[in-house]
């Protein structure tokens, strides 16, 4: 199971900051992002067109580092980070 925490603009697509993705397999970053995309689209039928593009440019992190696209994600707490805009 992955517990996904959303940040930045992604929080507009979910009332809670986090949610769980149940799966019996360990997924690659790319596959987990696809699954999150499907989940958020289901939750936000009105914002369907916005969700895909922003998830595509968002990064997954195990809260220690940014994960690369083809990496396998260990189950646990995962953050989804949209493009950053500090400063």
């Amino acid at each position: 199971m992955y517990k996904i925490t959303l940040f930045g603009k992604l929080r507009d697509f979910k009332h809670q900051d986090n949610f769980c993705v149940e799966t019996d397999k360990e997924l690659s970053v790319k596959k987990l992002k696809n699954l999150i995309c499907v989940y958020l689209r289901d939750q936000n039928p009105n914002n369907n067109e916005e969700i895909g593009p922003i998830i595509k440019v968002s990064a997954l992190s195990d809260n220690e580092r940014i994960l690369t696209e083809d990496e396998i994600v260990n189950p646990g707490n995962i953050s989804l980070l949209p493009p950053v805009s500090g400063g």
């Binding site: 940040f7 930045g8 940014i66 953050s79 980070l81 949209p82 493009p83 500090g86 400063g87």
Partner: protein, 140 residues
Amino acid sequence: MEIVRLQTKPIKIEDFISPYKDHHGCESIFTGYVRNTNDGKSVKYMEYTAHKKLARNTMITMMEEAKEEWGKTLDIIIVHRLGKLALGEISVYISVRAPHRDVAYSASRYLIEELKKRVPIWKKEFCDDNNYAWLDGVPL
């Protein structure tokens, strides 16, 4: 002195003034403020959020990179504000103390540019009509 900090209380420059060390000939200070317009729109206030752990770790890594490139004797302070900020408040403060100005300017420029590209912080801009917009950012 090395300080890396994310804080919700206002950034006061006087909090980061400390005695100079003999080998430091100068200090370069970069201060970012909340301004009243962006892309032609009036801004009322700004809200910053972060992935605090990753943001702090990334800022520490950037500081180490700057020291590796420009010298271990640099004193570096990087402070970023979080939460709701009014117009004119300081959003980011970077100080580099160095033996010479070329090093101080280069390291300071490096730190603010890298911060904008690598540190997981997000800016939400509230307009006069109470609508808000997340600012376009840089993918990690």
